[in-house]
Amino acid sequence: MTGKPAFLPARWTAAAAIAAGAFVATPAVQAQEKVLRAVMHADVRTLDPFWTTQTIAGIHGMIVYDTLFGNDEDGRAHPQMVGKYTVSEDRKTYDFTLRDGLKFHDGSPVATKDVVASLRRWAARDPVGQRLFSFTDKLEAIDDKSFRLVLKEPYSMVLESLGKSGTSVPIIMREKEALTDPNTQITEVVGSGPFKFAKEQWVPGSKTVYLKNADYVPRPGNEPPSSFAGSKVPKVDRLELVWIADPQTAMSALVNGEIDFYEAPSIDFLPILAKARGVKLMKTGKIDSTFGLIRLNHLHPPFDNVKARQAMYYLVNQEDFLRAIVGDSEYYTVCHALIVCGSALGNDAGSEMMKEYNPKKALQLFKEAGYKGEPITVLQATDHVTITPATQVLVQAMREAGLNVDAQAMDWGSVVSRRAKKEPPAQGGWNIFVTTSGTVGGSNPILHTWIGAACDKGLFGWPCDAEVEKLRSAYGFAHTDEEKMKVARDLQKRAIEQVVYVPFGQWTQPIAYRADRIDGIVPNTGLPVFWNIGKK
């Protein structure tokens, strides 16, 4: 009789086989293969881009899956999987037809049943999808290649929502996976995008491998790439997203030619990388990549009073924050606005209050709000490359103004957990935390979740203002550029008055790459784009 010993559980024999296999069966990369090695800002740990809003999961999703539309660098939607589409005169009915040749990585054709199921799963998790579906009357497959979206009202953001980039992108997965409960992670990754996920070579915390999808049919006409729009052409045989936790090691690996692409080099290392032979730095797009924000808890004193919230504007000198975070003024922008400066809707409505640094005035406003020296609890992250110095600058400014600051030091993971608590600060809650967000979302009132004021349904801090929410909704029904700008200005003015958050500037995160080894990089604000990159 043969077989494994009965006392050894099957999972341990499997684990032993993996450990042993590592010694003998790891496939060597074939010499002739074109391999693109990229170090990202984080490691791919979860495979379901709907299950989490982590940016790295969105990057993984865009590599493996495809989208119906792709937004270009100006945020305008262009068909991607969709071949043609029509919009009815009343702007309530959208008919879409998938283009020819779309196949999943298992060889099965992409059908509209997959599209409908995927969009439903996306909308169950993503606020942009939820908003779109709140205006949707019907989403139905007409046949295998055509489907129809019928709206209750002429919502103007249909195509931009379907082409959304950033996190929780509406990617199309097989119906089989798309029917999984949105709160449960999928286990199979079978997309129809330009690269296939090599699950057997995936080592979470170390390396994620993708292989070229030789069956991928790019959009015809060789459309020039712009952000997620244009023809996607996979040009390397193998894409490896390598996770190097230590920024100094990652920088050295790039200089030494062990990697080709470094998504987020530390700002401190940019002068070294700029001088390194074969290495180039590239700004990621037309606008800065990140903005910083100070979030106040509207549920508890003193920030349940609008005067105390407005007082915080007078304690923020953006230059102080940006110098501490970025240092080099080439990479940052002072921005006294809530809608990202430099974006199509960037404007200065309501910004006067933010421009004056005046601690005395701030203290006066705090007193008018009834503040009598009670401790203000600040969640102070100690391990974040930008949030940590920004919080230190804020705490110092508050103390210098005469406020009683209770800065509670903790790692970022603890801040993420603690900020969800609605209890008063003395019972484990909080008054202030600092965070950052991507400018792609911050450029558009619908995608800009931090500008919302949806009370209990909103983000941590829970600002509550019906007018702000009304204006956000109104943006969805503005059809011309003039109408959109007017709503954006009104929204920003109101949101600044109510202090949904206090901005402390925006900055760009350049990428670094080996210009002597790769070409075809498309500058893109938000997520990096790996198709169209070739190896020399």
């Binding site: 499997a14 590592a22 982590q54 709160n183 903790m410």
Partner: protein, 313 residues
């Protein structure tokens, strides 16, 4: 001897149980919430609560503990909260790099440190002794990451002799395997070498002043024979003890070295899991580390009998 080994093995069971209980509850008491990390930056409190419920993290801690113990009794360490992969598989994936790094460090350190310690004792208060002791003080004082960055800068970035980072399994060839281990082994091994060299010197100095060494010398035995055969063998018990203690130090050193040299081993897995609050991985790893520590201690104890015939169990 057999009864002793059995007794020691049985004694590990309560140790492992205490470790398991301690780790489980300590992790749950620590701040941080994996559901909040999974749900992401823009998630609402409701979305986080939904993820928490789906992961079973909203259940009473005692219930979670009972479920974990039940799995553990069947050899199941659970599934990673983030990657959804079995913890046993994740640990198995990372075992080879850590074993390779630990063994290579051990070989480098022991092979260099013992001769250095013997030399220092033999030439006590001479130049060689002072050089070895200076090295020992510096080696112990310099943080591993600093040594690592220095080695990377010189041997990888400037000279281009060795890779900056990564790990190649031995299946991809012996030289690629070795070249990725040289710098990390040296970086990790320096502090370890310093410790062993100092203990070897101290232990040898004590033995070298014994009457039987004087007798051996007066008989005209060769110096090497006196040092290596008569002195070192009798000085070896404290040296072996410190090597054993050093293996525990190696486990913590591996975490830093694996990060600096980007080696996908158990140390990196531990740090990443702690930062992400991936409870099942942390629990599984600590059990594995505790088991390794118990096993090393047992081996060290058994080696005493082999080195010193007077010691019997």
């Amino acid at each position: 001897m057999g009864a002793y080994v059995l007794r020691r093995l049985l004694a590990t069971i309560p140790v492992m149980v205490v470790v398991a209980v301690f780790v489980f509850f300590l992790l749950r008491l620590a701040p941080g919430d994996p559901a909040a990390i999974i749900a992401g930056e823009d998630a609402t409190a409701e979305a986080i609560a939904a993820v928490r419920a789906k992961l079973g993290l909203d259940r009473p801690v005692i219930e979670q503990f009972a479920l974990w113990l039940y799995g553990l009794a069947q050899g199941d360490l659970g599934v990673s909260i983030f990657s959804n992969l079995p913890v046993t598989r994740l640990i198995a994936q990372r075992l080879e790099p850590t074993l390779a790094l630990t063994l290579s460090t051990l070989i480098v350190a022991v092979c260099l440190a013992i001769p250095m310690g013997v030399l220092a004792a033999w030439k006590a208060r001479g130049l060689a002794d002072r050089l070895v002791m200076a090295f020992a003080v510096m080696g112990f004082a310099m943080p591993t990451f600093l040594v690592g960055y220095g080695l990377i800068f010189i041997f990888s970035v400037k000279l281009g002799w060795l890779p900056v980072q990564g790990y190649r399994p031995i299946a991809q060839g012996f030289w690629p395997f070795v070249e990725t281990l040289i710098l990390p082994s040296v970086a990790l091994g320096i502090a370890y070498m310093a410790l062993i060299a100092r203990i070897t010197r101290a232990s040898m100095l004590e033995v070298l002043s014994e009457d039987y060494i004087r007798t051996a010398n007066s008989k005209g035995l060769a110096t090497g024979r006196v040092l290596m055969l008569h002195a070192l063998k009798n000085a070896s018990v404290p040296i072996v003890t410190v090597i054993g203690i050093g293996i525990a130090l190696l486990i913590s050193g591996v975490v830093i070295t694996e990060t600096v040299f980007n080696i996908p081993g158990l140390g990196r897995l531990t740090v990443d899991a702690v930062l992400k609050r991936d409870y099942p991985i942390v629990q599984g790893l600590i059990l594995v580390f505790a088991g390794a520590k118990v096993a090393v201690n047992l081996l060290i104890d058994l080696s005493y009998a082999a080195l010193d015939p007077r010691i019997r169990y």
